[in-house]
């Protein structure tokens, strides 16, 4: 007779739940991930612990002591023991004081006395500063190029150079980076050349992305920097996945992901934080709280005390740092990385800063904020000048070094722009390759159709794209 195609969902699922509660046990959730790879042996039977969590009980008199102190009574609910209170008290929506911000250098670049920080060598300090200058110049020149019509689009990192460079400096090349789109400094630190940046922006044939993405959507598997995806906060769960992979392989490395204050509103942020905590994944969540999400100020983005307080909600250790203080950023990321790997846990870092530039070249931020405010942050709270004061105090930098660096970088940048602009674009075949590992028949067919159309209407086809 006909097979009974029974759905296993309703009836048998229920049976399975019953079976499960009666002793096909498993170890408690909390201890699970500390022993990642079970040997091929009999499963650890601990039938009691999963049930325990779900049973409410009061402690018996004898187990507490000679007399019951009403303050010591506790309840067992799923999740563990919790004391109870007879007063109706709501936890306040915010603490009386905001979480303080860790900084090492004051506004003038003087080291604050008794500050804790990780000492950097002259070589590292000078590289940090030089890279910040390089990033600043690169941004300015690319921005101008877009304004002149040479580039189609650009997004600057002005004001956030310290976050970019100092955090990169505190990481190792094996740490995998999942950027949002305002962190090219991390790539720069790792060795991406100005030419390579320019190639991606112009989408020429030397672009590693093969000309498929918008400018600033860099990616480099060599440098462990994952290709920027324009969608906000989707990289956060990706980073948790990478951290999970590193954890499985027991690598001495962590995943690091960046996002903005706006990105912390996305569902992916909350889910990724929760997952990272539950998976005990070694991932750093670095939030660049720069005050603006295009035209939305943080007061319209969330009502919590910034992003740092959200860490506790997910069981994640967090810190708030002055993002414009390179030394503080370096120290915080350094400490966080060490904790993340050693203790196999996620860490949240909220770096307070200011987005000096516009959101992108498609934005004019003077329409929603005062030019004075922008100017103030650019001048008085500039991360470069603060750090420069500090390295100069050690005698590691000078005016001469500054002007040498700036003129050299500017020349390099203009040359990179010139070369990238003149380079050939990737040929048409790249429109269809890499969609899959090998182009399937429908894509080959479609490519042929495009080529046929071009052949019959060559005047409608751009002349600078090789076929």
């Amino acid at each position: 007779m006909a097979q009974h195609l029974k759905s296993s969902s309703s009836k048998s699922a229920f049976v399975n739940i019953l079976k499960h509660n009666f002793g096909i046990g498993s170890q408690s959730h909390a201890a699970r991930h500390l022993r990642p790879n079970l040997p091929n042996g009999p499963p650890r039977q601990n039938p009691i612990s999963r049930l325990c969590n779900t049973m409410a009980e009061k402690l018996s008199v004898s187990s507490i002591g000679l007399h019951v102190d009403s303050n010591n009574q506790v309840l067992d609910f799923p999740g563990g023991k919790v004391a109870f209170t007879h007063e109706i008290q709501f936890i306040s929506e915010s603490s009386k004081e905001r979480v303080p911000c860790y900084r090492v250098l004051d506004d003038n670049g003087q080291q604050i006395p008794n500050s804790h920080f990780v000492q950097v060598s002259e070589e590292v300090a000078v590289k940090i500063y030089s890279d910040m200058v390089t990033l600043q110049i690169m941004d300015n020149i690319f921005y101008e190029a877009q304004r002149q019509g040479r580039l189609s689009f650009y997004a600057t990192t002005i004001g956030e150079e310290a976050i970019n460079i100092a955090s990169a400096a505190a990481l190792t090349p094996q740490d995998v980076i999942f950027p949002q789109y305002r962190e090219p400094g991390v790539l720069l630190w790792r060795g991406f050349t100005l030419q390579e940046f320019a190639n991606q922006c112009f989408g020429n044939k030397s672009d590693y992305g093969k000309g498929r993405q918008m400018p600033v959507h860099y990616g480099s598997n060599k440098l462990n920097y994952f290709t920027v995806s324009a969608t906000i906060a989707t990289q956060l769960p990706n980073a948790v996945g990478a951290a999970y992979s590193l954890k499985m392989d027991r690598k001495d490395a962590c995943a690091v992901t960046f996002f903005g204050d706006g990105g912390s509103s996305e569902g992916d942020f909350h889910a990724a934080m929760n997952f990272a905590a539950v998976m005990e994944a070694p991932v750093l969540f670095i939030c660049r709280n720069n005050g603006w999400a295009i035209s939305t100020p943080t007061s319209d983005q969330f009502r919590s005390d910034g992003v740092v307080v959200k860490g506790r909600a997910y069981g994640i250790r967090s810190i708030r740092v002055d993002g414009n203080d390179a030394l503080a950023m370096y120290s915080a990321v350094h400490a966080a990385r060490e904790m993340a790997i050693r203790e196999q846990r996620p860490i949240l870092i909220e770096a307070l800063t200011y987005r000096v530039g516009h959101h992108s070249t498609s934005d004019d931020s003077t329409r929603y904020r005062s030019a004075d405010e922008i100017e103030w942050w650019n001048k008085a709270r500039n991360p470069l000048s603060r750090f420069r004061t500090w390295i100069e105090s050690y005698g590691w930098w000078s005016d001469e070094a500054e002007s040498d660096l700036r003129s050299r970088i500017k020349k390099e940048m203009l040359e990179a722009l010139r070369v990238a602009e003149k380079s050939e674009k990737p040929n048409l075949e790249n429109m269809f390759s890499d969609v899959y590992d090998v182009p399937p028949s429908n894509l080959r067919e479609q490519e042929l159709m495009v080529r046929q159309t071009i052949k019959s209407h060559p005047q409608d086809y751009p002349s600078d794209v090789p076929l």
């Binding site: 996945g241 590193l246 969609v435 080959r444």
Partner: protein
């Protein structure tokens, strides 16, 4: 034990049969597993004169799925019987044994064994990290799987029900489908996203969705649908070994199908359709559960004197236009039977593809039987009317063959 590929498992199984005889048609096994059969439809009207079909074979051989020689005996005579969900589990377990990078993530996949028991026993064998229980956020664990894939793992992501993957659409479309392309080929995303979908028995509208219609446009992904224990195991293994992201559609009502499958290792080709029943009068294209409704209708049709050719298309993206085309050239009539809704379903795309490519071979318009454009009702009788039934298939064939 070396892997052998069973190209077209010609199962002469009818709806009721447990044992299926597998005949390998000689021409199929000589093809490399991923032959890029390029069918160029004539777009130049002046030269159109019947067949301008040119079939080419790709130069690239994928080492994992090597074609067998025609005389290799496929059935050793033994083989073992199991249910479809066990076949999926067997395929998954074999791949996890073979490659330590394969891991599973999803809700309740670990010690609970998965809601449909596809991952049963795996957590005990491979540990809690390789079979990962996740909190409830489809977008997050799909994103996690993608991130893990970019760093070298090969995750198998389970959606408890395909409908829940709507929450993961952002990650599937933007990151899974696109990142290989936008990164210039620097990062591959060899994930498998699988789960049960389709109309069940009174599961309600939200749990009876056909996600294959929504996903089919996403560039960069492949979609396959399994329908028998044999192809379930084969497709699972092939999907895991594929470098592309693959979405494997299972059906809620097919998990308890029983069949005898070979003991030796085998893989099914991801881009190939399965010839279920060769025939002469009409080509019936179907997939997943509708295959069984079609085969039931086929029994009636045979009694009435018709000879339908039934093809389980299996590969939903891309379509196996080679197999389908050969069939259309033979029978000149096409009936598509699907569970998707009329608007924008797999049948709609398939109709368009057949009309575009094989218009000259058709003696009648392509007919497509699908579900109505309504959310699936909970009431059992109403639910039954939303799904194409064998009687409707018989009527449609009679109509087409007039």
């Amino acid at each position: 034990m070396s892997a052998t590929i069973h190209g077209a498992a010609t199962a002469l199984s009818t709806f009721n049969s447990v044992d299926s005889k597998k005949l390998i048609s000689p021409c199929r096994t000589n093809l490399p597993a991923r032959s890029k059969r390029c069918i160029v439809a004539g777009s130049d009207a002046s030269k159109r004169s019947g067949s301008r079909l040119r079939v080419g074979h790709s130069q690239k051989l994928i080492p994992n799925a090597v074609a067998t020689k025609a005389d290799t005996s496929v059935t050793t005579g033994t083989g073992h019987e199991l249910l479809l969900f066990e076949a999926l589990q067997e395929g998954l377990e074999e791949e996890m044994d073979r490659d330590p990078h394969v891991c599973v993530m999803g809700e309740d996949v670990g010690h609970y064994g998965g809601s449909y028991k596809v991952t049963k026993g795996l957590a005990d064998k491979f540990g809690d990290l390789r079979v990962l229980d996740t909190p409830i956020c489809e977008n997050a664990f799909t994103g996690m799987g993608i991130g893990a894939a970019m760093t070298g793992l090969r995750p198998v992501i389970e959606g408890m029900n395909m409908g829940f993957l709507l929450l993961a659409f952002n990650q599937i479309s933007n990151n899974c489908g696109m990142l290989h392309y936008t990164s210039g080929g620097q990062f591959t995303i060899p994930v498998v996203i699988r789960g049960p979908g389709g109309v069940g028995r009174q599961l309600g509208a939200e749990h009876s969705q056909r996600l294959e219609s929504y996903f089919q446009s996403i560039p960069g992904i492949q979609m396959v649908a399994c329908s028998t224990p044999y192809n379930a195991k084969g497709l699972m293994k092939a999907a895991i070994r594929s470098e592309n992201p693959v979405i494997l559609f299972e059906h809620v009502l097919l998990y308890n199908l029983k069949e005898s499958i070979p003991d030796e290792e085998y893989i099914c080709n991801l881009e190939e359709a399965e010839m279920v029943r060769p025939g002469e009068h009409i080509t019936i294209l179907t997939y997943s559960r509708m295959r069984y409704h079609v085969m039931q209708a086929a029994k009636t049709l045979v009694n009435k004197g018709y000879d339908p050719e039934v093809i389980d298309i299996r590969s939903l993206k891309p379509f196996d236009l080679y197999t389908i085309g050969n069939s259309v050239k033979k029978t000149h009539r096409v009936l598509i039977v699907e569970e998707c809704m009329r608007t924008g379903g797999i049948g709609a795309s398939l109709t368009a593809a057949i009309n575009e490519n094989f218009n000259d071979y058709l003696d009648a318009p392509v007919m497509c039987l699908s579900s109505q454009d309504v959310p699936t009702p909970y009431a059992g009788t109403l639910e039954e009317w939303t799904v194409v039934q064998p009687a409707q298939i018989v009527t449609a064939v009679e109509q087409l063959c007039q």
